[in-house]
């Protein structure tokens, strides 16, 4: 192997834009297949909104995977808890939720989302201390503990709220669609997309512009070396775990509003999607997670429209295809 000397010019680092182009290519490819431009635009908007919601739920999990090497199969519990907590705020303020004023609606929605994040984050603290801490570095036990935790959380929700599905209607001002020509884009999907983008930008700013972010990125890559530099990474673990749990709670509220219902096992359908996103994005990669979430949502929406029978397995097929192309995910961050 030829070794560069200090005086040699460094090859310019290549920007890896292929994964970024993938959703764009997929979207363009489906234009002729879908046929109608308005249907295609509606499907694309739906994909973006769904992708952003999945991203919000999965972003915490990918950091937990990458930084802590923890397989948290109980991540879905934070989603369900977040959604249920929101119902506690929505129920007494049902009139405000149905008021025909965006500001009045947001005055309920925002505290509900914040409370859900706070409760999910606090639950994350308990889960990390009680379930995860004793099994760091032991993947099999992590799977058993967190799966057990998920079952306990679901059954607790059943015990507290009952087995029935709880309706969670969209606030009045978020119902309906924006009409652009013959294209209808649901208002809530626009809001979900904007929130998802805001979360993505906020995470990117923290990761790339702050020392805390440097520590997280360094920790995802090599925890041991971060400790050898004198940083107590366990505290960072806890902070990331709580943040990831809080984001899952936020995602739970958004998903519940999207589906307009809450039930204790709502996380079951999402857990598979979230794990697919985390795996195809590359463990620990927020950028990969973002693109992966959009891809999963696109495949679900375009695939569901074009080949409904394939909808059930479309995400697994997507994962197989991505891993055949890039076995460590779209953006490999960790060496695990």
């Amino acid at each position: 192997m030829t070794e560069l000397t200090a005086s040699d010019p460094l090859p310019k680092p290549k920007r890896d834009i292929a994964p970024i182009l993938l959703p764009v290519a997929l979207a363009l490819l489906t234009i002729p297949l879908v046929g109608s431009p308005s249907t295609w635009l509606t499907l694309t908007a739906a994909s973006l909104a769904m992708g952003m919601m999945i991203f919000i739920m999965a972003s915490g999990l990918t950091l937990v995977f990458g930084l802590m090497d923890v397989l948290n199969f109980g991540h879905g519990a934070f989603i369900a808890v977040g959604a249920y907590v929101a119902t506690l705020v929505f129920a007494p303020f049902a009139a405000s939720v149905q008021a025909d004023s965006l500001w009045v609606n947001l005055a309920v929605l925002a505290p509900a989302a914040l409370l859900s994040m706070a409760v999910s984050g606090a639950l994350g603290l308990v889960v990390e201390r009680v379930l995860i801490l004793p099994v760091y570095g032991q993947h099999l036990k992590q799977i058993l503990m967190t799966t057990g935790g998920l079952i306990v959380a679901e059954q607790t929700l059943y015990a507290l709220w009952g087995p029935q599905i709880i309706p969670m209607p969209l606030p009045a001002s978020l119902r309906g669609s924006f009409i652009l020509g013959d294209v209808a884009i649901a208002k809530y999907r626009v809001l979900a997309t904007l929130i998802g983008l805001a979360v993505f930008i906020a995470i990117q700013l923290v990761l790339n512009r702050t020392k805390l972010g440097l520590l997280i990125r360094a920790g995802v890559e090599n925890r041991e070396m971060v400790e050898a530099l004198g940083y107590r990474i366990r505290r960072l673990f806890l902070g990331v775990f709580m943040t990831g749990s809080a984001l899952a709670g936020l995602g739970g509220v958004m998903w519940a509003l999207y589906r307009e219902q809450v039930h204790a096992s709502m996380s079951d359908e999402l857990t598979v999607l979230i794990f697919v996103v985390v795996i195809i994005g590359g463990l620990g990669s927020i950028g990969g997670c973002f693109i992966g979430a959009i891809l999963v949502a696109m495949v679900a929406n375009y695939g569901g429209f074009l080949v409904p029978k394939l909808a059930l397995v479309s995400n697994i097929l997507l994962m197989v295809a991505i891993l055949m192309w890039r076995p460590r995910g779209l953006y490999a961050v960790t060496s695990r």
Binding site: E3, L4, T5, L214, A218, E227, A228, G230, Y231
Partner: protein
């Protein structure tokens, strides 16, 4: 000269393997102590045990008279121990600058110290904002050492810095380590390259099968070819 670091009867187990089998060693302050030995002798395990990355199963490790064998790695690092692992372990997703910002911990990077580092490793200045992952092996090693010395450290633990590097870069690294030594640093240096060891070492410890089998002056070992052959299975001439 007092001993900055002392290990007494240190045993380390990794899983069911008994790697360190009662290590006794002392690292005098202001000196470069070479830790030599064949592959698998336990040199890297010794450094990792000192750093707290692997827990000693028994024995005492003291730094400036303070017991550290039960302390967590970050606490040991904050006592003033810099660690350069064999794998270099630069954060490849971070830039050169970001790697050094993290290494400076709570302090701002000292411009004078930075200029001093750039004097040895000009490539780091040139690639200041480049991702560390895109550096060559030699440049990564420079960054790894720079990270350990960006702040004054009481003790540097350096694991095979010349491993796999081109001769021209090995020469630059040796010069840098000599300069660090001249500034009075205390270094425990694991090295397979006997030429580098001879150039840098004041004292030498030779390990075999998890124990120290020889200790003495580096100059004495360098001058005693039969002893080198017996301890290390090499002759100095072969490395010249």
């Amino acid at each position: 000269m007092s001993d900055l670091l002392k290990l007494s009867g240190v045993h380390t187990h990794i899983g069911r393997y008994h790697i360190l089998q009662g290590i006794d060693l002392a690292v005098p302050e202001g000196q470069v102590t070479m830790l030599l030995g064949r592959n698998g002798a336990g040199k890297t395990t010794t450094l990792r045990t000192i750093m707290g990355l692997w827990q000693a199963s028994s024995g005492e490790i003291t730094m400036s008279g303070e017991r550290i064998e039960s302390r967590a790695t970050p606490d040991i690092a904050r006592l003033g121990v810099g660690y350069v692992p064999e794998s270099m372990a630069v954060f490849s997703d971070l830039t050169v600058k970001e790697n050094l910002v993290l290494a400076a911990r709570d302090a701002e990077m000292d411009d004078k110290q930075l200029e001093w580092i750039f004097g040895f490793f000009p490539a780091l200045r040139r690639f200041w904002l480049s991702r560390a992952g895109s550096l060559s092996g030699g440049q990564k090693q420079m960054l790894s050492i720079a990270r350990a010395i960006i702040e004054p450290r009481k003790l540097l633990l350096i694991d095979e810095p010349t491993k796999g590097l081109a001769p021209a870069i090995v020469g630059a690294l040796i010069e840098c380590l000599k300069e660090i030594k001249r500034k009075g640093a205390t270094i425990l240096l694991v090295e397979q390259n006997f030429f580098a060891a001879r150039e840098l070492g004041d004292t030498v410890l030779v390990m075999d099968n998890g124990t120290i089998v020889h200790r003495g002056a580096m100059a004495a070992l360098a001058a005693d070819v039969p002893l080198q052959e017996r301890l290390l299975g090499l002759s100095l001439e072969a490395h010249q």
